[in-house]
Every structure is written in structure tokens, then in C-alpha cells.
Symmetry: C2
């Protein structure tokens, strides 16, 4: 995989040029894109020209970036993974794309997404084994990083769309605190839940990207952030994970313990259980509003699964939706107490290894963290019996993304040393 | 003015047809639009055909509606009040437009807005006196209702864009609780503040519209909601209102008292003072993100005032923005205590009468309510020395929009009886 932090430092030091990195990216794409299908749209020629021309020394140094295809780009089509928007060209870049480009990130293409970032599987395959799913909905973003095509990719998460594909593809990713990164110019599905996601090779890489994109101190390379303490959260109200998922959690916990971290088991408060149930109501009700026009005027171009979801969303009463919003608020309010005495929580990123392509189950462990708006990070841990990656999810306190990144980076190092 | 509730009931009773109402709207537009300039785009021919064809009996009964031109419509241009988006045609209707059309509202045109709903004045004039401003940014929406062109108009409010023009134009309007109405498909300026607004002739009319648009019980005609109690809030940290503004507040308070309402003076808590200051930071910082592409690629097509605002927004540090978010949270948290013992607060809708066209000052009393996310309603009260309308603002508890509407309707009736 391409390591964002290392590449940025190498360019800054004059050890490598952006043009060379772009050539490496193009080679990885030439070798794998035909089978992986990470991109809905690619423009390597324009990217090469941009890399050749790059001057200045801003954080992304002309490095190649993949941007999920529900994020607006004025110079590339933005199809939202739907034939309804084939060849759609937005009038402006999304706010996050502007931040990316201002720091000299070069968007080489739009990464494949599930239809409107919901659950219809795109053609993307898992780079570790093409018979398997890369996870959805930010399938292309996770796969492009995993296949060594880009050192950085942007995705989104409304349910499980960042952390799950990161786990399946064996890459690091963060779904930051709700509203830490700007959402303007991203096709909404559920405004109360929609959150940007950032993919990279390692935790230090996504922290580096987060520092630039959020314009806040986020880097966790170099410094010593101390030994974190962890709470182990199994979200037991969802039932058990698969053997490989449980093994990853146990492995990560043991690595942490061996590294000197204090661990303790955390029982989910009842408000979190109710919050996880509220997630379903909110996403369906808001999704029905977000895609009301498409449902009425382009219903025949929607997948059956999305058409059905929008119909179910429409059937949710305002009363039921308001109750779900209340449950969500209650769930958020108890978060502070749950984190008492621990720096971060460890929970499942996914039930286990990726399911066969194009299956899409396995998002359950990500819904509560999304609803709570907490920073959530996938740390790759091990390979399961099918040889596919399995990660664990590090959850931080709301608004304390750097503390969560520091804990995740520490854990990643302990896992590597195990 | 056209009264939405009365027209809906008359159509339902078979006393008038939608075609006749459309003819009345067309006549008012023919008589006044040349000088008032309420619309950025009008399509009366299509509206007439739609009204003639109307079947069924949904709440808006084929009545004409004006929609602010930052709200997406797939069948009409959506120019955001900016030459950058001249002839821009969105791919889909905004969620609120879908709700409107599902209930058989007929969008006859796009009402004029300040550039991107910020502060550059559109060509719209105050229907009560063309030498004066109708208020911004939802200038066309307020003016179209005031001039009798439509019984219902949609606007938005990020600072003062609904309540202030309603006061200047002498119409009723509500900025509902934050996130009560869906924002998908509306050009964002400050996502933490942007809120839909609804304009009509009287409080019962906007309550009727709110019941349909929010899909919640909101009507306040017919029933007896009891005698409300009011807190008088002068937002004294902003300095005094003008004489006409103060007179309107005193007049409304006396009418309430004469009607048997219990009144009490409310001092603004310090958190609200800080919240009002936070509003400026949030709107500028988020605006800079929302229009980052336009600033970089179309800077020459932006008004100097907006260009300057975006530059100031860009200069706000993440730290300052985060502090403002914190202040906003603190301000919201004390709201419940402020409302203790009263059903609603009375405060200024604007400092006084409308300023001469195209002046734009006078939004200060709306910023705190927007930041707090409270339901805010303009109730027309009196005419000032220049003969222009002055209203007062009724603020309700967060999420209790119907209670606020009931208090406002009661007050409106007391004012009429005074």
C-alpha cells in the first residue's frame, strides 16, 4: 500500500517527485483496476499533468487521491452510483474537495459507491480475493487504498460505509466526529448521520490527512501520546460477532494488555441499545426525503432494495421519527459516562471477514457509533480463515478525534509488534 | 393578501376552483410584479395548466406557491441569486418542494433572494412602499405574499432571512425549530444555522402550511389553545430597538395583557449574549466552506460584500470556530430554564420599519433565535411613522412549534381586537 505520511515526507525532502508517485499509482491501477473496479471514473492524464506541474509545499504535495462518487467534483462526473446521475457534472466542488485541492491533493478519479451510498453493491471487488466483497458503501475508496492505487481516499458513512469496508480491505480509516469535516456538496442520505470518512494505509497516515482536512492538530506520528486505557465493548445486544471478528477483538485486547494498557469490559447502557434501534428509523425516514424526487420521477432506475427502503422510510410517521431522534439524543447523552476512566473503546469493525461478492450484510456494529457521532477508527488486526483481513474499531469521545487516533496508532504499533 | 387557510377551505367546499385562484394570483402579479420584482423566475402558463388539471383533495389544493431561489426545483432554474448559477437547472426537487407538490401545491415561480441568501440586496421592493427594502434574504417570498400574489411562500433563515422580511412586509412567517423541515436540496450557507421559513397572510395560514409540510399536528385554527403566558425579551445586549420596534413590542404586550395573558420581563442569560456573538463566527466560517469553490473559481462574479465575508470566514481558525460551537451549545442548554413559567417569549422581529432600498441593516434580533434553533414567528402589529409594517417575534421552546404557533395566533387575534 502507498503510505501517505511517508510519501509526503519523501516529496518534502526531495527524495521522490509527485510525478513518480503518480506513475506508481498509474502502474498499480493498470495492474489491478480491470479486476478490482475501484473507480467509477478515472482521469490519469489530467492527474499526471497536475502532478508534473505541482509547485509549493502544501500537505498533500501533489499526491493522488480517490474521492467517493457521491462527493461533488466540478471537473469530473458525480454519478452517486446511480444511472439516474450518469454523466452528471456538478457546478462546484464539495467543500472537502476544495480543502483537499487547496492542500495540493490531486483527485485522480471518483471511487465506486453503492447506489446513493445505500446498499446496492457496486462492481468493486475485494483486492485481497476477488471472490469477496470489499464492503460497502465506500467500496471503491477502501479497495483503491488496499490495492496500492492511492495513498488517500475519501468516503462517507451513514451506517457502516467507512469502517466496514476498511476492515474487509485491511486498511486504516476514520469516521471522524459528526460535523468535524464539512458536508456541503455531498449528496445527502440521512443528514443526521452522514459523515465523511478518510482511508489510508496506517493510522498515522489518516491522522496526517485529518490534520490537513480538518485544519486541527491531528497528527500522531512522532510524539509520545502515552499508554492508553481501553474499554472492551461487544455491543452484546446485537448478538455475537463471527469467530474471526471475536478473534480480532481478543487479539487486539491482548496486544494492548501486553503493551501495558489497562483494559476493562464495558456493558452497553440501555440507551445505546435503544439508540442502535433508532438508527434504522432515522436513516430510512431521512433517506425517503433525500431521494423523494428520484423515487417519484426515476423509480424504475432505482435498485429494488433502495426502492423498498425508500417506501419503508415514507411509511415512518413523524411521531416515530421524533421518538427515534429523542432516543438518539438520550444515547448521546450517556456517552460521556461510558467513557469514564478509559481513553477509547474497542469494538468490532465488522462481524468477521468479508462476505462473498456481492453480499452486503454485516454493518450492524457500525450503526451505534455513527448515531452517537463518535470518532471511529478501523485498525487492521489479522487475517481470518479465508485469508481476508479483519480489523477492530477504536471509538473515541465526541470531538476528541486526536485522542482516538493516538490510541489507535498506539494499538496498531502493539499489534504489529505482537 | 391571499389567505391560505380560507382558500383551501373554499376549494374543499367547492366554493372556488384552483383555476380561479390562479387567475387572481396572475392578476396580482400582472398588477404589481413589474415594480415589486418578487420573482427571479415565473411560469404562470405551466401553473395555470396544473391548476386546471388538479384532482384529488390534498392540503394545498392546487394553490399557487412561491419558492425561494436557493431551493432546488428540477423544472425551473435555481440561480441562488447569483450570476454564477444563471440558468442552472438542478437534477431534482428539494425535499421540501417534493412535500409541497405531493400535497398539490403549485410552484408558480422562484422568489428573489439575496445572493446565496447572504446580504447583497436583490431587486425586490417593499410592496407597501417601493422606496423601501422588503428585507432580506427571503425578499421575494415576503413581498409575493404581501402583494397578494401567492397565499404561501417558502424562504430560509440563516441569520434573519425569514422573520425580518416578514416584519418589513407585514406578513406572518415562521422559522420552525431547527431540522423540523428537511433541508436536502437547498444550497447550504451555514449548515448549523440554515432553516426553512414559511410565509403566509396570518398565523393560522402558516400553521396550516406547517401541518402539511411537517406532517405533524400544527394547525391552530378552530380549537381553543388557552391563554398563553409571555416573557418579554429585549435582547438588551444588542442595544435598543428603534422607536417603532419598541412601540410594536409595547403594543403587543399590552394587547396580550388586556387579553388576560400573564407577562413577565425576561433578562437574557449571559450564555445567550455569548451565543449571539458565536452566530457571527459560525455563519462566516461555514459560509466560507459552502462557497469555497465559487470564491476561488468565480470570485469576480461575487458581490464585494460576499467576497469580503468569505475572506473573513476563511480567516477564522478552527479553534475559534470550535469555541463558537461550544458557546452555541451552552446557549441552547440554558433555553429550557429561560422558558420556565412562560409559553413563549416576545422579542423584536426587526429594529423598526424597513430601511430605504437597498439598505440591509437590521438583522440583529434574529441571530440568537436562529442559533438557538427555536421556533420563531413574526406577527404583524402596527404601522410605523413611515407607514410601513412592524411586527414582533414570538419565540417558542425548541420542538414545540405548535405551542408557539398557538401563542402567536392568540396574540394576533388580541392585536386585531385592540
Amino acid at each position: 500500500m502507498m503510505r501517505l505520511l511517508d510519501l509526503a515526507e519523501a516529496i518534502d525532502a526531495g527524495d521522490i517527485t509527485p510525478s513518480t508517485v503518480m506513475t506508481l499509482a498509474a502502474e498499480a491501477i493498470a495492474a489491478r483496476e480491470g479486476e478490482v473496479k475501484a473507480f467509477a471514473h478515472l482521469d490519469l492524464d489530467a492527474a499526471r499533468i497536475a502532478a508534473d506541474r505541482r509547485g509549493g509545499d502544501d500537505g498533500f504535495f501533489g499526491l493522488p487521491v480517490a474521492v467517493k462518487d457521491i462527493i461533488d467534483t466540478a471537473d469530473m462526473p458525480t454519478a452517486h452510483g446511480s444511472p439516474i446521475y450518469a454523466r452528471h457534472r456538478p457546478k462546484a466542488d464539495a467543500a472537502i474537495v476544495m480543502r483537499l485541492r487547496e492542500a495540493q491533493g490531486i483527485v485522480i478519479g471518483k471511487s465506486a459507491t453503492a447506489e446513493f451510498a445505500y446498499t446496492a453493491h457496486p462492481p468493486t471487488r475485494n483486492p485481497h480475493d476477488l471472490a469477496y466483497s470489499p464492503g460497502i458503501s465506500s467500496a471503491g475508496s477502501a479497495a483503491a487504498v488496499a490495492a496500492g492505487m492511492v495513498p488517500l481516499a475519501l468516503g462517507t458513512q451513514t451506517g457502516s460505509s467507512t469502517i466496514r469496508p476498511a476492515s474487509y480491505c485491511g486498511v486504516a480509516a476514520i469516521k471522524p466526529s459528526y460535523r468535524l469535516l464539512p458536508m456541503q456538496g455531498i449528496k445527502p442520505f440521512s443528514p443526521l448521520l452522514d459523515t465523511l470518512g478518510v482511508f489510508g494505509a496506517r493510522v498515522v497516515d489518516i491522522a496526517y490527512a485529518m490534520e490537513i482536512l480538518s485544519r486541527r492538530p491531528m497528527r500522531v506520528d512522532g510524539g509520545d501520546f502515552g499508554t492508553p486505557s481501553f474499554g472492551i465493548l461487544r455491543q452484546e445486544f446485537l448478538g455475537p460477532a463471527q469467530e474471526a471478528g471475536e478473534a480480532a477483538l481478543v487479539f487486539a485486547a491482548r496486544a494492548a494488555q501486553d503493551g501495558g494498557a489497562v483494559l476493562r469490559d464495558i456493558a452497553s447502557p440501555p440507551e445505546w441499545h435503544a439508540g442502535a434501534a433508532a438508527h434504522r428509523v432515522i436513516i430510512l425516514a431521512e433517506g425517503a426525503d433525500s431521494l423523494a424526487y428520484e423515487a417519484v420521477h426515476h423509480g424504475e432506475k432505482l435498485s429494488p432494495v433502495l426502492r423498498d427502503a425508500l417506501a419503508r422510510g415514507r411509511a415512518i410517521s413523524a411521531e416515530e421519527y421524533d421518538l427515534a431522534r429523542r432516543d438518539a439524543n438520550h444515547a448521546r447523552k450517556v456517552s460521556r459516562a461510558v467513557f469514564e476512566g478509559v481513553d477509547a473503546l474497542l469494538t468490532f469493525s465488522a462481524p468477521g471477514e468479508a462476505p462473498p461478492f456481492p453480499q452486503t450484510e454485516g454493518g450492524q456494529f457500525n450503526r451505534l457509533p455513527t448515531l452517537l457521532g463518535l470518532p471511529a477508527i478501523n485498525v487492521p488486526v489479522l487475517r481470518g480463515p479465508k485469508g481476508l483481513p479483519v480489523g477492530i474499531q477504536v471509538l473515541g469521545r465526541f470531538g476528541e478525534d486526536r485522542r482516538a487516533l493516538a490510541a489507535a496508532a498506539w494499538l496498531e504499533a502493539r499489534i504489529a509488534a505482537s
